[in-house]
């Protein structure tokens, strides 16, 4: 009976070969799948978030330019609308308020934003999830952002109290919404979104006009640019119009905090897709090369016979390339499934973290086609050398057994270096020396696994270092109180008298643009007195640096983006009310991982701004036993617009990063184990098939199974150990690239890898090595001694 009727004989051989070598084929397919999955996961999540953001911005008219002022007359809005390059201008009222939430001791901060009465918003339209927008003039109604509502289990009808412009106002929630302006809803001075302590509150324009004394006026405006308009020019003109009304300098989307954070996240995803997948593709190509070479060498005589029968080189070559293609397709299929699944999971995770009203899952066919093409390409390149080698042999030569491998003595043998080593170990060493390329590539494959693990794990080290530097060495205050306007120095005394306050240190902030030639950055310039203890500046060795008597301290990120060094002169454009430009010398470059930092003496800053001694806020340390009393007092204090609590910030920082990093790290560890396993398993299987005869001979001579297995495993163990230092170097390098890729104006990652991380990475790969060795050991134990010894070498 003819089985598989109609299938050509060579193809039948192909299918049977795949079944015969299925564990090795699967191991290779899984490595291929890892590369495909990471590519699809990263790029798929990136595209999904990109598209989600694009649609959200378009549908809800996210503005292009944002500006604030102290108080500008309403009629200015139509003048601004007429500026060249402006398509739409919408004025509003926006300001911060301290919130008193029942059941929460610490005060929260709310950003109150007005909604036009009697007409819908034109720009930054909220997406109402439940309820409605507040009625015109309804001073007790508020619509809040969904994350805040969820954090407090608030619903329509829930109440809380806000201190608006020094007056307590009870508010009732009438609506719950999302906004494109607050996809990343972060409070002033916060590092991470704290939905318990920061709310976006939409209220009636009339109500906020009355609350903030802005009748017939506005203090915030957003613009939509016309097609082809140049943002910088529009901003320049807008600043000119708002200067006399206390404008603090307009900015585009790139400086809008929510957009900036989302951008940084997307940048990281893109970096991920560039760094990780090539590693997997490289390892896959190497594995395929190794496996195919061995397979072809075992089938050498068959190939000669097939050639002698009249099959062309093309037919034989395509037979082996079909084998490679089949393994690749299996890997690609698994990779597609895993990548799509993980990508959707990652997108959902981001959707949870960022406040999107909907999520678009991008399944562009081109991504899958590219991933498949890259994978297949890598596989074919890996297999090409082996295939061409098989084809080069004339049929008659191929049908003869190959000449035996020639071994030589090891370096140093003449001086008796290996005298005390057993013959079994000598066998292993000489085998490695005989096939140095294969040994090197096996070690390289393993070292890539180690490297991948280091890249995954070092994130924890970096985060801990960031936390240590930021929360325990630099920003050591318990809280920061911000005032709505610059306030006279005597407010420091008032702060000292708050319950439990142990120390008060003032600060001043001003919106500036720091320039060096054509490079510039918009940032908040901070002024501090000399000798602050609560907050400190750190040098590159994390030692405290005093605020210099003259000049400016900037952090490394700012120094790098503006190409500024110690001693350079920088141009400071004062955006607040357009007070002109000054020149300041850079005294020192400090280490700070959060944002763009520029610092000088508070007296110098006030002088720069041509103002007397005023402060924007104070950092405080307080007795935690009196925390409740302090909070109560703060909630009652009219002239505090917002409060940042450090211990909350630290807790949130850890929790948020831990969740994000843990998921990615788990995925990478899984993938790295697959690589280690794939490399070791294939190497061991190939060695087993090549040395079955030697191993069987040893069994016949009376060596136990464990002793015989040691011959194989000694070589694998040596390669695994050799792979570690190389893996550490690769991990170090990949981590450095990752740090550079992830660095942004919002935060940079310290490049710190603890010794324990190197050790953990090595332990995991060694464990994977041992695991695959155990599986191969079973095959060694099952060697059919008689069958092996009867076959001719």
């Amino acid at each position: 009976m003819r089985i598989m009727t109609g299938i050509p004989a060579l193809d039948r051989k192909l299918l049977r070969d795949i079944v015969r070598i299925w564990p090795q084929a699967l191991a290779i397919a899984l490595v291929l799948a890892s590369g495909v999955a990471t590519l699809i996961l990263a790029i798929g999540a990136y595209r999904s978030l990109e598209e989600t953001r694009r649609l959200y911005y378009a549908e809800y008219a996210f503005a292009d330019v944002f500006a604030t002022a102290t108080r500008a007359p309403r009629w200015l809005e139509s003048r601004i609308q007429e500026l060249p390059g402006v398509a739409v201008a919408e004025a509003r009222i926006a300001d911060y308020a301290v919130l008193d939430i029942e059941g929460m001791a610490e005060p929260a901060t709310g950003l109150a934003q007005s909604l036009p009465d009697h007409k819908p918003s034109v720009l930054n339209r909220p997406h109402v999830r439940a309820g409605r927008i507040p009625e015109p003039g309804a001073s007790g109604e508020v619509m809040v952002n969904e994350a805040f509502a969820k954090a407090h289990a608030m619903q329509i009808g829930s109440k809380f109290v806000a201190v608006l412009n020094g007056r307590k106002r009870p508010l009732t929630i009438v609506g719950i919404a999302l906004s494109p302006e607050h996809i990343y809803a972060i409070g002033p001075g916060d590092l991470m979104p704290d939905h318990r302590r920061f709310a976006v509150m939409w209220m009636s324009e009339q109500a906020l006009e009355a609350a903030f004394g802005l009748d017939g006026a506005f203090n915030s405006i957003t613009l939509k640019l016309a097609d082809g308009a140049r943002e910088a020019e529009v901003i320049e003109r807008l600043d000119g119009m708002l200067a006399r009304y206390g404008g603090t300098g307009a900015y585009g989307r790139s400086d809008q905090i929510s957009h900036a954070f989302l951008d940084a996240e997307l940048k990281q995803l893109a970096a991920l897709s560039r760094v990780i997948p090539p590693v997997f593709l490289l390892v896959s190509a190497f594995l395929l090369n190794m496996t195919l070479q061995r397979m072809i060498s075992l089938e050498r005589e068959q190939i000669g016979l097939i050639k002698a029968l009249g099959y062309s080189n093309a037919a034989i070559g395509s037979h082996y390339l079909k084998l490679v293609a089949l393994i690749s397709f299996i890997g690609i299929a698994i990779g597609f499934a895993l990548g799509t699944w993980f990508g959707a999971g990652l997108t959902r995770l981001y959707g949870k973290f960022f406040q999107f009203p909907f999520l678009v899952f991008e399944r562009d066919a081109d991504l899958y086609v590219i991933a498949a093409a890259l994978t297949l390409g890598a596989a074919v390149i890996g297999a090409l050398r082996a295939t061409l080698g098989a084809l080069a042999l004339p049929a008659a030569v191929a049908m003869r057994p190959p000449s035996p491998h020639r071994y030589t003595r090891l370096p140093g043998e003449a001086w008796g270096l290996y005298r005390s080593i057993s013959q079994m170990t000598v066998m292993s060493l000489r085998n490695m020396a005989r096939f140095p390329m294969r040994a090197a590539l096996t070690a390289l494959g393993l070292s890539l696994s180690v490297g991948l693990l280091i890249v995954s794990l070092f994130a924890f080290d970096a985060v801990e270092a960031m936390i240590d530097a930021t929360f325990f060495r630099s920003q050591r205050q318990d809280a920061s109180l911000n005032f709505p306007n610059e306030t006279a120095y005597r407010v420091i005394d008032d702060a000292r008298h708050l319950p439990g306050v142990l120390r008060v240190e003032p600060f001043r902030k001003a919106s500036v643009r720091l320039k060096n030639g054509n490079l510039s950055r918009r940032l908040s310039l901070t002024g501090k007195p000399d000798g602050t203890i609560l907050t400190r500046q750190l040098d590159s060795d994390w030692l405290p640096v005093a605020v210099p008597e003259q000049g400016l301290l900037i952090n490394r990120r700012l120094a790098d983006v503006l190409n500024l060094r110690r001693g350079d002169l920088a141009e400071v454009e004062l955006l607040d009310r357009r007070r002109g430009t000054r020149w300041v010398r850079i005294s020192e470059v400090i280490e700070s991982y959060i944002g763009l930092v520029a610092l000088m003496r508070i007296d110098n800053l006030n002088e720069l701004l041509r103002e007397g001694p005023v402060v924007s806020g104070v950092d405080i340390a307080y007795d935690t036993n009196q925390e409740a009393a302090l909070y109560r007092e703060i909630k009652r204090t009219p002239h505090i617009s917002s409060i940042e609590l450090q211990k909350n910030a630290l807790k949130l920082f850890r929790a948020t990063l831990a969740e994000n990093i843990s998921m990615m790290t788990s995925i990478y560890i899984g993938l790295a184990v697959i690589v280690a396993f794939g490399v070791v398993y294939n190497s061991a299987r190939i060695q087993l098939s090549e040395r079955a005869r030697d191993l069987a001979s040893l069994r016949v001579l009376g060596f136990h199974k464990s002793e015989v297995a040691r011959v194989l495993f000694t070589e694998l163990a040596l390669l695994a150990l050799l792979a570690q230092p190389l893996g550490w170097l690769i991990g170090y390098w990949l981590s450095w690239i990752t740090v550079q890729s992830f660095s942004s104006d919002l935060y940079s990652t310290p490049f710190i890898i603890e010794t324990a991380t190197f050790a953990k990475a090595s332990l995991v790969t060694l464990a994977a090595t041992i695991g695959s060795a155990i599986i191969v050991r079973k095959r060694i134990d099952r060697l059919d001694l008689i069958a092996v010894l009867k076959t001719r070498e």
Binding site: P404, H405, T408, M424, M427, L698, L701, G702, L789, T791
Partner: protein
């Protein structure tokens, strides 16, 4: 009473591959005595290699009794069979089975390192006439030289028995004779009980006894009244 080293009674061996049964041995009775050289002669498929493998602890009989002195080989587990081979048995195969990455001396050391009372590798290789070539790799030796290294490796541990499966099968007659000389020397000088499997009838006359195999059993056993030296053999 002659010193019986091996005792086989009604030994059978059946191989099953799917539904097909192959009766390789159909009831073999055999005694091998200490110090003798026996040739097991027969065509391919007659069961002689199967019996050798059972005697050497590489395989187990399906039924029957097979003893090495007081040791019942049919009752030994895998570990015990390995220990038995390690201590008592030397093997020589048709295709030498040397470790290619070890020199001649090192191939012999492989065995002496795990033996209780071995001779030195040098001594074993001298015995087979390969003293000057002991530091060469197998790829640098001729077929006959490789087989003699295999013999040296087999006897270096001073085994009680030497089992040779077609030791001259891959060699020309001139080289084969040299190998037979080495085996004969080992049997004479060390008193090792030696069994040689072959389908080459010319070899049978160097033995003390010849067991002729056919269809899975010993059809005939002959005692050579006069033994010839290996140098007198030709084929």
């Amino acid at each position: 009473m002659p010193d019986v080293v091996f005792e086989a009674r009604n030994v059978t061996k059946v191989y099953r591959t799917g539904e097909v049964e192959v009766h390789a041995l159909t009831g073999v009775d055999l005694d091998l005595y200490a110090g003798e050289l026996v040739v097991l002669l027969g065509p391919s498929g007659s069961g002689k290699s199967t019996l050798l493998n059972i005697l050497g602890g590489l395989d187990r009989a399906t039924s029957g009794i097979c003893r090495f002195r007081d040791l019942d080989l049919t009752r030994l587990d895998e570990k015990a069979l390995t220990a038995y081979r390690r201590r008592y048995v030397g093997f020589v195969f048709q295709f030498y089975n040397l470790i290619p990455s070890l020199t001649a001396r090192e191939n012999v050391s492989l065995v002496t390192e795990i033996a209780d009372n071995p001779m030195s590798p040098h001594e074993a290789l001298e015995l087979v006439g390969l003293g000057p070539r002991m530091d060469h790799f197998p790829a640098e030796l001729s077929g006959g030289e490789q087989q003699r290294v295999a013999i040296a490796r087999a006897i270096a541990k001073r085994p009680e028995v030497l089992l040779c499966d077609e030791p001259t099968g891959a060699l020309d007659s001139h080289t084969g004779v040299r190998v037979l000389e080495a085996i004969n020397a080992v049997n004479k000088e060390l008193g090792t009980t030696t069994a040689i499997i072959t389908h080459n009838a010319a070899i049978k006359d160097i033995a003390h006894r010849v067991c002729i195999f056919a269809d899975g059993r010993i059809a005939e056993t002959r005692v050579n009244e006069r033994r010839i030296e290996p140098a007198e053999v030709s084929w």
